[in-house]
């Protein structure tokens, strides 16, 4: 501690005027402290670099190996009848759009409703507490378990071994709902209680205040939460492998037949290669590149949406 003692101007007492230069000189960190500071800074920077390396390397690898097949055929062809070069992922891209869209249609209304219940009606009631705990558990449910649950459900309803895009959507909805509930609840809580009171004081029933005041006010945050939820499930593979299955051909029907999706496409291209292994590897990497591009766009969109909505509102 002696090293940190303040230096006072010579001959002065505590009540004397303090020489600013001397105080500044005394406040300069000593060697040991500066060294600790530098070392800590170095460690932190190293950690940041180590975190970024996998991300950069994955992006680099997909661009390097996937760009070879980033051609028009990739987006216009399916894999029907293709055994070597050529072919495309249109069937998987369509499948991903359909399954993800269906998932969003299931998960957003359900998740938002649950969040509305939790923030606007539930309060500290038992049911609200139970719902929150259930959501907490659902957030950490392994996706393969969600897949098994959907598989069991559709087997019971439509016969054993039923696979369809809709079954995939059901599995993904189980993963997405808790994400939507959590983000929506957080956003709805940010709507000031003042606004609810103002709405009620205008002589409107509570549900109309929610519909006309609370939800529009929270809309920017709600949409960005929903988009992040979509980004969360769009790359899911395991449940789709189980219940949506895989096909080489186009399938626009969610309710019937196996449906290829991008993650499963990547997996099958890599896991069951034909004789021309390079062609399969290239398609797998191209699929990875497309999928990552979709996720990045979604992430950026989720970030930009709230400010865009606010801007539109301000300028209309």
């Amino acid at each position: 501690m002696s090293q940190t003692t303040m230096v006072r101007p010579a001959g002065g007492t505590a009540s004397d005027k303090i020489d600013p230069a001397a105080v500044l000189a005394a406040s300069r960190p000593n060697l040991r402290r500066r060294l600790t500071n530098q070392i800590t800074l170095g460690v932190v920077i190293l950690a940041v670099v180590m975190t970024a390396v996998p991300l950069v390397s994955v992006i680099w690898a997909s661009v390097e190996r996937g760009s070879a097949r980033l051609d028009v055929a990739l987006f216009t062809n399916s894999m029907r009848g293709v055994v070597g070069q050529g072919g495309g992922l249109l069937h998987a891209l369509m499948g991903t759009l359909l399954v993800t869209g269906a998932t969003a249609l299931i998960a957003i209304p359900l998740g938002l409703s649950a969040a509305i219940y939790l923030t606007e009606y539930g309060g500290t009631s038992k049911l609200a507490g139970l719902t929150r705990r259930a959501v907490d558990i659902m957030v950490s449910i392994p996706s393969i378990v969600a897949g098994l649950a959907a598989y069991a459900l559709f087997s019971l309803l439509f016969g054993p071994g039923t696979r369809s895009g809709l079954a995939g959507a059901a599995a993904l909805a189980m993963i997405m709902i808790p994400v939507v509930v959590r983000s929506s609840e957080e956003v709805l809580r940010l709507v000031p209680a003042d606004l609810r009171e103002a709405g009620l004081a205008l002589g409107a029933p509570r549900w109309r205040v929610i519909r006309r005041i609370v939800l529009p006010t929270a809309l920017p945050g709600l949409t960005s939460g929903a988009v992040l939820g979509v980004a969360r499930i769009i790359g899911e593979t395991a449940p789709l492998l189980l219940v949506a299955g895989f096909t080489d051909a186009m399938n626009y029907n969610l309710a019937e037949g196996r449906m290829a999706t991008l993650p499963v496409f990547i997996y099958t291209q890599w896991s069951s290669k034909g004789l021309d292994t390079a062609a399969y590897d290239q398609r797998a990497w191209a699929g990875a590149l497309v999928l990552m591009a979709v996720v990045v766009v979604l992430q950026l969109g989720a970030r930009a949406l709230p400010t865009q909505i606010a801007k539109i509102r301000r300028n209309r």
Partner: protein, 318 residues
């Protein structure tokens, strides 16, 4: 109680004072400026002011009789047994120290008190012959008759200025459009002394205005649903003196068409703007708030009947 508004600090507003029967107040067109309204009030006053007054209650529509009202938060009694006459088409001020229950009582009048979980109120609050606190009365319907302006200006940020004025209708599911909606918006914004400042930017967001403008927007929003009563819970406490002055003028003006009840911590403001003042107090923290005394503002401020009122008004309250 006398018919005339106590003289003194409010020479400017006494002419517009709404102690005359409501018909005069009702006849004032909404588009009228404050100066016009005062003038009109002055013109109307000689004919009517002498023939009626607070003593002859109820004289004006919008009169509220509060009888034996107690308010609870769970098992905690916050307001005990208040009985009070709130004259119609006049400004009534609730004053008193923090925790005395004046805001709670105010919120009980339009049934906003019960919005808080566990909160309830007993007693009767009779507006024009209807008990607002009656068991068969719908709280939602009460609130469309008794509007409220809050301490912090709270325009709806997701709505334009225009839609904020129309919010009462929009929330209830109506889609006001066309010239009727435009007319209502202009009328209410003029009523709130805000029209000239915002007429060129009605499509801008409601929270793009200054604090004082926002509060006037909230007043426009409250009067757009055509209530009989406008409750104001410390409407100026978040505003600067200039904005406060504007709201005070507006409150006087509003009293021509509406019964105005305002909670304020500002004694001078209560003295300036109100016709009747009710002083609330509590024995000590945690005890229920009670009505100490009420009466014409001039009388209450110049000659309070109760020592506690005098102490509070003179700033000697503990």
């Amino acid at each position: 109680m006398t018919a005339t508004v106590p003289a003194g600090t409010r020479a400017d507003s006494s002419g517009a004072s709404p102690v005359q029967p409501g018909a005069a107040g009702l006849a004032v067109p909404a588009q009228m400026s404050l100066a016009d309204a005062v003038e009109m009030g002055l013109v109307a006053a000689p004919g009517s002011a002498g023939s009626a007054g607070l003593a002859g209650l109820p004289v004006a529509p919008g009169h509220i009789s509060i009888t034996g009202v107690s308010c609870y938060y769970g098992s905690h009694l916050a307001v005990a047994d208040v009985s009070l006459e709130v004259p119609g088409r006049a400004v009534t001020a609730f004053i008193g120290p923090s925790g005395c229950g004046k805001s709670t009582l105010l919120r009980a009048i339009n049934r906003m008190h019960e919005v808080i979980p566990g909160a309830r109120s007993l007693g009767s609050i009779i507006l024009d012959g209807v008990d607002l606190n009656g068991s068969g009365v719908d709280a939602v319907a009460v609130r469309s008759k008794v509007g409220m302006v809050f301490q912090k200006p709270n325009p709806f940020p997701a709505m334009s200025i225009k839609d904020n004025v129309l919010a009462g209708l929009i929330i209830r599911g109506a889609r006001p459009r066309g010239s009727a909606a435009d007319d209502l918006v202009e009328q209410c914004l003029r009523r709130a002394h805000l029209w000239d400042e915002v007429k060129d930017r009605l499509k801008k967001a409601g929270d793009s205005l200054s604090g004082g403008q926002q509060q006037r927007l909230c007043i426009a929003r409250a009067v757009a649903v055509q209530p009989d009563v406008v409750l104001m819970d410390e409407p100026c406490s978040a505003l600067d003196p200039i904005s406060t002055l504007a709201i005070e003028e507006l409150m006087r003006d509003l009293a021509q068409d509406y019964t105005v009840v305002v909670v304020t911590h500002n004694m001078a403001q209560a003295n300036r703007i109100s016709d009747v003042t009710a002083f609330f107090s509590l024995a000590q923290a945690g005890q229920p708030g009670r009505l100490v005394e009420s009466g014409p503002t001039g009388d209450l401020f110049s000659a309070p009947k109760v020592a506690a009122t005098r102490d509070y008004i003179e700033g000697r309250f503990g």
